[in-house]
């Protein structure tokens, strides 16, 4: 895209590489994904609405979307602080801390799930300090929120870091020279510049949280209507051989995810344009 090239390249392998790419993409991704949509297309509208708007399903949407939103917002705040500290300050062990930020990507979700449950259970390292205060985390809404915060953290930090690194110090110097104090510079100059990538990081974390399963099922308690997330509901329906119901809910989630993916792509274009100015 960057360099103008002839559409007829002298390099070989176009047919082979593109053919293989399309065949593999089709077989592994597109055909199976289309199965979900085609299966749902065979349902009557009445059955579809009955499957995706039942009270138990609506309760699961509310929990999944609500906890994902809350976790994304918390990650936006703390992710910004972590990214800022990692880019702007130096302290001993910074490289290790920086590498550790990716732990939620690298740690299998089931391991994260049982570790968080063990920490926040009433007898756990953290839970035993919260229990006397009357705060119960494991097997409640808060537990789901904690797991989703864990899983979303790297998205915000890793989206912000390169942008913070590229930020030109001249703008801050100009702001300071023109009489702004440091806080004004941060709020009026730096934050607006970070806004697109902050939103992108939030959207990525939110999208990941919507579909998250492994780290949540252990800590959530899985009570229908209360702490049952949508992915678990899909599995429950499958185990009851309700393939139609499971697929209908899956299609609702797929459409939400694809919509978010589109939004993220637009956000990324916006932030690139922002940086180019």
């Amino acid at each position: 895209m960057a360099s103008p090239r002839n559409s007829r390249s002298i390099l070989p392998g176009f047919g082979l590489s593109l053919g293989f790419t399309l065949a593999y993409l089709g077989l592994i991704v597109l055909v199976p994904l289309s199965a979900a949509f085609l299966r749902t297309a065979g349902m009557s509208w009445h059955d579809f609405v009955g499957a995706v708007a039942a009270p138990r399903v609506v309760a699961a949407y509310r929990l999944t979307f609500g906890a994902s939103l809350a976790a994304g917002l918390v990650n936006m705040v703390f992710g910004l602080v972590v990214a800022w500290v990692l880019v702007r300050y130096s302290f001993p062990g910074k490289k290790i801390v920086d590498a550790l930020v990716d732990l939620p990507f690298a740690l299998p979700t089931a391991v994260a799930g049982i570790a968080l449950t063990s920490l926040y259970a009433p007898s756990g390292w953290v839970g035993r300090w919260l229990a006397p205060l009357g705060i119960q985390v494991a097997f409640t809404w808060t537990g789901v929120f904690i797991a989703l915060t864990f899983i979303g953290l790297p998205f915000v930090v890793r989206t912000l870091q390169p942008v913070l690194q590229e930020l030109e110090p001249e703008i801050e110097e100009a702001s300071s020279t023109l009489g702004a104090n440091r806080l004004q510079t941060v709020i009026r100059i730096i934050l607006p510049e970070l806004a697109p990538s902050l939103l992108t990081g939030f959207a990525l974390a939110f999208a990941r949280a919507l579909g998250e399963y492994g780290s949540v099922v252990f800590i959530s308690g899985n009570m229908p209507m209360k702490t049952e997330i949508v992915p678990l509901l899909i599995i429950t329906k499958l185990e009851q051989y309700d393939y139609q119901g499971a697929t209908a809910i899956a299609v609702v989630m797929l459409v939400s995810s694809f919509f978010l993916l589109l939004l993220i792509n637009l956000l990324q274009k916006w932030s690139r344009r922002y940086q180019a100015i």
């Binding site: 991704v29 732990l103 953290v126 399963y213 949508v230």
Partner: protein, 290 residues
Amino acid sequence: MDSALATSPNPRPTSAASRRATRDPAWARWLLTTVALVFLACFLILPLLVVFAQAFSKGGAFFLAAVREPDALASIRLTLLTVAIAVPANVVFGVAAAWAITKFRFPGKSLLTTLIDLPFAVSPVISGLIYVLVFGAQGWFGPWLIEHNIRIIFAVPGIILATTFVTFPFVARELIPLMQAQGTDEEYSAITLGASGWQTFWRVTLPNIRWGLLYGVILCNARAMGEFGAVSVVSGHIRGETNTMPLHVEILYNEYNITGAFAVASLLALLAIATLILKSAVEWRQKGTT
């Protein structure tokens, strides 16, 4: 910095002023650093520590017994088998896709790039579900598969397929921006000098992308070994047969064998730590070469 000090007649005030302009006050630095480190300690370090503390809470002998138990060994073997098929398949795909997308111009290229990222937007549970819809007893090919006595769902092939789907974009999305930035000049020179296509790929392209490729493989491998949701849907949970390591952890945990669950989980946590170390090493290497 040094040359600026040498040439500028009175450098100190300007540099101090500019530092004041771009630097936060000391109290803010301390506060923000503390907040960041406490947050990371609570959310990242504590969960990692608790895995190992729980794994060894009944002593080293119990740990070894839990890890060497036949079902645990079978789950380790299945996880390794899955990775040994899913990761190379996605490497071949990633290289082919990156070659097609970055070396040629064709209509629909950005659509193709978006479609490659699609599996990242799909919930792991749904990734498993779609394979059940295609290959399960109720699925498109279900009756045919049953007739020919081929099992995909609730068997090893289903686990491999679901893992391949979930780790699909890792290598391609690492290579595409890298090869885009490198352009096609070196390949053109090689072809002009008489190299064949494959020679150009092995001797010119591959050495150029080796660190990016390794990076993608490390991430792909970590996700493939640890995948839980997608595999959980297609596995059928037969002990010793269709349980991968994360599924074995789940079974032990649900049977209240907490220490056993954490013993197997600690192996996966070690994998995660190794992944982070390798990843940082490759990032450091990449920075050094470019």
